[in-house]
């Protein structure tokens, strides 16, 4: 039997404090929106779409009772048949990203891959928030301008 002991990446993934020259740079977990709407697998798409729209979002993260990400509904999935259960409508097992990933790299990848949003989770899959491409790109640009101005 092997007892897994968490390492440095798990420490960072849990959003715990770090030191060093890169510690102050914005990370995915800093920019990800924790107020993203969430839903459960057994809800109907119509109900969820209404709630998500009322909150001013076009994406929703599907989680279980422990906050572990099970799926994702982006605008394409949210536009489906209202009677369908979330389980059938969602994009299952989406790629997730850790909170310590540099926002600049996420922005670059999200633009390259034309990805509108990306779920940020801890190492054990619990939702931290949804990183929106516009937020990531804006933060990366501000950082670049700030560093350009300082140099």
């Amino acid at each position: 039997m092997y007892d897994y002991a968490t390492g440095k990446l798990d420490w960072l993934a849990a959003g715990l404090p770090s030191e060093g020259s890169n510690a102050s740079r914005p990370r995915a977990g800093d920019v990800a929106r924790s107020d993203v709407p969430t839903c459960r697998m057994d809800e109907s798409l119509g109900d969820v779409r209404e709630r998500v729209g009322a909150a001013g979002w076009n994406a929703c993260v599907v989680v279980n009772e422990e906050g572990v990400v099970l799926g994702l509904l982006r605008s394409k999935e949210l536009g489906g048949d209202a009677a369908v259960r979330i389980e059938a409508a969602m994009r299952p097992g989406p790629s997730t990203f850790r909170p310590f990933v540099a926002v600049e790299e996420m922005a670059e990848y999200m633009i390259e891959h034309d990805l509108e949003s990306a779920p940020v989770t801890t190492s054990d899959g619990r939702l931290v928030g949804l990183l929106r491409r516009s937020d990531a790109a804006r933060t990366a640009l501000e950082l670049r301008q700030k560093e350009g101005g300082a140099g």
Binding site: S95, F97, Y109, H113, L115
Partner: protein, 54 residues
């Protein structure tokens, strides 16, 4: 015994056959990347040494 599933695309970084891009989950991604390459590029994992049997 079943045959391994036919992969849909290749990682643009290392050439590994993959079913879809591990960054955007799209099988038709022009810049498809495998799980290991995505995680290394984003610093989510550190490169692991190869394991040997002996």
């Amino acid at each position: 015994m079943s045959e391994p599933k036919e992969a849909g695309t290749k990682c643009a970084h290392c050439g590994t056959s993959i079913e879809c891009c591990e960054f955007c989950d799209e099988s038709a991604c022009q810049a498809a990347a495998c799980f290991e390459c995505v995680n290394e590029a984003l610093g989510q994992a550190v490169p692991q040494p190869h394991t040997h049997g002996g």
